[in-house]
């Protein structure tokens, strides 16, 4: 279906993914000003069911899942004993004995293994339900007006990071007010067999509002402007949750969980490095992997970096020694042999108007 729209493809975690349809910048701007439609079916979806589902989730994640009410969503992380990332994920609570975890495509098998491995006497089962479901993301300020005519669910009643179950274009769907773009919008979890049908109904419904189908390139620049991290790039099993500056998802007081001791210790001892957002003070974009220098010495590399189509700046993320992480700190990035100046700036780079 995507090929019919002129999409260009790439291989990603075993999936053939559309990189772009009409153009990465056009798609990016459509999401900021109207709406964009993404096929994110490549994401991993794990179900946790059983009497002790909550207990098991509390044990393997660092955020406090006990705070979730039914139909609420939470951003969290699966953490190692060292307080580093096995993965980052969103936790959906249906009921105390039934959760859905949305995880990174490349980590789905690892996560499944990890959670099963750490299950002891909890009465809970974990299943990979990724292949049964498709996942579409409708993002942008016009998302509600586009989706509402297609569903019986009162979208105004779904708050940010909550979800409802209902029908979209006659197909049963989980509708969550979440996303990875920094905009208002929805993610739809639907039966895989209905994906093309729902995709096409949404495309029709969004046309007059200026909605565009969007590919991976726009997804990446949108999430970067909003400083949403990408696993395997901005954080992984070598970086702790504190270092990734995601301390707000660490709830040490919630009770024991894997990685709690290490995170507690690191908090007490203080960080040696931290992920920061930067702006390049040059026309050359700084890309992932480019060396980062302080006083002529390489101290790391860019973890994500791109031209930011809405902000019209070159932005990125990198880990810096803690003493160099203050807003306004200048440092250098080596761009093909040339050292360009960059500055630590406040993040998110982009925050949507409310």
């Amino acid at each position: 279906m995507h090929e019919a729209l002129g999409a260009r493809f790439t291989e990603f975690a075993g999936w053939l993914m559309p990189v772009q349809y009409t153009g990465a910048i056009e798609e990016h701007l459509a999401v900021r000003t109207a709406a964009g439609l993404f096929d994110v079916s490549h994401m991993g979806r794990l179900e946790v069911r059983g009497r002790d589902a909550l207990t098991l989730i509390q044990k393997v994640t660092c955020n406090d899942a006990a705070r979730l009410r039914d139909h609420q969503v939470q951003y969290s992380a699966l953490t190692t004993e060292r307080g580093t990332f096995v993965d980052d994920l969103t936790v959906y609570r249906f009921r105390e004995d039934h959760f859905l975890l949305c995880v990174n495509a490349a980590n789905r098998e690892k996560d499944l293994r990890w959670i099963r491995q750490h299950r002891e006497d909890e009465e809970a089962e974990v299943y990979d339900v990724s292949d049964q479901m498709a996942q579409l993301a409708l993002q942008g300020p016009a998302a509600t007006e586009i989706l509402q005519p297609l569903t019986d669910v009162q979208l105004d009643h779904i708050r940010f990071y909550w979800f409802e179950q209902g029908e979209v274009a006659g197909v049963s769907a989980l509708i969550s007010r979440t996303g990875y773009t920094g905009e208002d919008g929805f993610e739809l979890y639907i039966p895989a067999a209905s994906a093309e049908w729902v995709w096409n109904r949404l495309l029709d419904a969004g046309q007059s509002a200026g909605m565009k189908p969007c590919g991976l390139a726009a997804r990446n620049t949108l999430r970067l402007e909003a400083r949403l991290l990408l696993y395997g790039h901005d954080m992984d099993e070598t970086t702790t949750v504190w270092e990734a500056d995601l301390g707000w998802i660490v709830k040490l007081e919630k009770g024991d969980f894997i990685g709690r001791e290490a995170l507690r210790r690191q908090k007490a001892e203080g960080l040696r490095r931290k992920l920061v957002g930067f702006e390049v003070l040059d026309r050359a974009p700084a890309r992932e992997g480019y060396p980062v220098l302080i006083h002529g010495r390489v101290v790391g590399q860019v973890t994500s970096g791109s031209y930011a189509p809405f902000l019209r700046k070159n932005i990125g993320l990198t880990y810096l020694p803690i003493e160099h992480t203050a807003i306004g700190t200048r440092f250098h990035i080596r761009v093909r042999g040339r050292e360009v100046e960059a500055e630590v700036v406040p993040t998110p780079f982009y925050k949507r108007p409310r």
Binding site: R8, Q20, H28, Y307, P309
Partner: protein, 135 residues
């Protein structure tokens, strides 16, 4: 998908640069096919006036939202002018690859090298083969 264009007055490389020789000066840019494949161009890194390059040598970079690609000299020569407008408006390469999106002008040190390049029709054939490989 719209058809790419191949002006008859240009010669082409396998790396998708074009050169148009007017008197002793060669104007160089990337082809319509190349700009389309790269997508939205956000930065063009060009050499300085006076720099000398051999045929096939990298002389700069063109960068889209998605990727960085090197630019290769179609023939040997010395840079006599660069397109200053691309610093402010790199999207000119997408909008007008054979016109306002030109990159550098050079004086040719060995005009016989032009014989190694492809004509418009040869390049069009070459692009067809490249597209086949994509599939």
């Amino acid at each position: 998908m719209r058809m790419a264009t191949y002006p008859e007055d240009c010669l082409y490389t396998r790396e998708h640069e074009w050169i148009r020789v007017e008197d002793d000066v060669g104007v160089i840019g990337i082809t319509d096919y190349a700009q389309e494949a790269l997508g939205d161009i956000v930065y063009v890194e060009l050499p300085s006036v006076g720099d000398h390059f051999s045929q096939g040598e990298p002389f700069g970079n063109v960068e889209s939202v998605k990727a960085v690609s090197e630019l290769y000299m179609p023939v040997s020569g010395e840079v006599v002018e660069i397109n200053e407008d691309l610093a402010e408006s790199p999207q000119l390469v997408n909008e007008d690859p054979y016109g306002d999106g030109w990159m550098v002008k050079i004086t040719l040190s060995d005009p016989t090298e032009l014989e190694t390049l492809m004509s418009a029709s040869e390049y069009e054939e070459y692009v067809k083969e490249e597209r086949q490989k994509e599939k």
